[in-house]
Symmetry: C2
Subunit: 294 residues, 2 copies
């Protein structure tokens, strides 16, 4: 049986041959918390996104007992051993004892809450009272969100036109321009009730018009559009080689729908280079829509 020694990102077998176990010797970033670790992730990802460096990412949420903390400590030491460099530890602990356990295992700790706490205490003239589950815990906004999600599901893809009075916003666009993910994200992230309606008219795309129900809600309409090439790619992923996915049809539909937006004075964005988060944030910025949730 071969016994194997670790060093760095490599292994050495008993014959002294070096076996690469990773293509590069990647350093590890840990995101650790006694809560969800969502804040530790948001913080660490934002910071690391400034660096053109690949890392292994490990999120360890709900580290809320001494035993779990000891297990994490072993993982940190293991990473130090495997990578040959100390891992970066982005952490947000409420429990000071657990925190002190974690920061003394050989990693490089980043504690942004601690860093800024003193200054905010001074400004607000109040002592910090850390509590788990305050950032991402269930609270009074919960019902708003679930209502908004149910609303988005019920009013996806033009399924119903009799609930549009309740909409905060109505997204419109041709097929596959991101209406559904955006509606759901608006609901989950901001508690906003977003309906969406597909602009399709196979028979007569040249004389596009909005149904009466949408015209009555014109002030709530918001259009999405894409570059032709991107729409072609997305549609080809669904129906390769179809008329529906052809460059020609994509170009035609996008031209016509953008004409419609202009004619009806519907605000719109081209979301080709944007993530769902960015599209949602842009819509909020453009419409002054009030979020129900902070």
């Amino acid at each position: 049986m071969l016994s194997i020694l670790h060093f760095g990102g490599q292994q050495v077998n008993i014959c002294g041959d070096i076996i690469k176990i990773r293509t590069v010797n990647m350093r590890t970033a840990f995101y650790i918390s006694d809560g969800t670790a969502l804040t530790a992730e948001a913080f660490g990802h934002a910071l690391l996104s400034m660096f053109p460096v690949e890392l292994n990412h490990k999120t360890l949420p709900f580290i809320d007992t001494q035993e779990k903390a000891e297990n994490v400590c072993r993982q940190i030491k293991q990473a130090l051993n495997d990578d040959g460099e100390p891992p970066l530890i982005f952490h947000t602990f409420v429990n000071e004892k657990l925190k002190s356990k974690i920061v003394n295992c050989g990693g490089i700790g980043y504690d942004f809450l601690e860093q800024f706490k003193g200054s905010v205490e001074q400004q607000l003239q109040v002592k910090a009272q850390p509590k788990t589950h305050r950032t991402h815990g269930a609270h009074k906004n919960y019902n708003f969100r679930v209502d908004a999600i149910n609303y988005a599901l019920d009013n996806d893809d033009g399924k119903k036109l009799n609930q549009l009075d309740d909409a905060d916003i109505i997204l419109v666009g041709v097929s596959r321009t991101g209406k559904t993910p955006t509606s759901l994200y608006l609901a989950l992230q901001y508690g906003i009730k977003a309906a969406n309606y597909p602009i399709t008219d196979d028979d007569d795309f040249e004389h596009l018009d909005l149904p009466r129900e949408l015209k009555l809600q014109r002030h709530k309409l918001f259009g999405l559009t894409l570059n032709v090439q991107r729409l072609h790619e997305i549609r080809s992923g669904r129906r390769q080689g179809s008329h529906y996915a052809s460059m020609q049809q994509c170009r035609f539909e996008l031209q016509e729908v953008e004409k419609l937006y202009r004619r009806e004075a519907i605000p719109f964005i081209n979301s080709t280079h944007f993530s769902v988060e960015e599209i949602a944030a842009k819509i909020l910025a453009k419409t002054n829509l009030q979020r129900r949730r902070f």
Copy 2:
């Protein structure tokens, strides 16, 4: 015409009467960025959640021109004037010129990226290369997420049983225990394909069993449950006074479903006190499910 002077959160009219314009003199927290401001929000909310203080929150994303920055500067000065105290400014700018404009308008700036940049540079031996839209921009993970969202929609509420091979996880539970929001959140946040299946059996709840299709995927099943009182409240919001919403029926269904979970060795959590974020994070922690997205 009355001319009005501001001080603090109050106004004084020309006769010297004090008119309260807010019930309390609330200070303002701004979240400002030349990107989505999602990182600035996550950072500021986490920090402020440690303080039992109410604030006005204002998010200003995509402040990417000198003109927009000047407008923001006016808003900061206005808040200082209205509140009587300098607002707190949580910001994440890539553009240094715009940042310097924003931090010199009379607010108290918090710049966590700047604070930790030097240390990470030293650790990684690489200079930071800030770029907008790196944290929340569209990238190769985009298709995973949209696929996962479409999967969750197609496989919501037991709609289909022939796509369960593709599921990463299958959430089960009685009606109104949070299966749908959790599935969608897993898709949006982590790119995980989550199906969900409602445990209902009006005729014979005492002899609950899983359909054959689910039994074949037993290793992917994950149960949700709630406290009786909470389920009663949620169901009453939908069908007040119904048998379905009664304490008796809720207690009965929850008892039986929890028996089923134990009998079939299905891992489950009681999500009464958890937000969607926490439920999702707990599921990940309990199942070692691999997220597709960081």
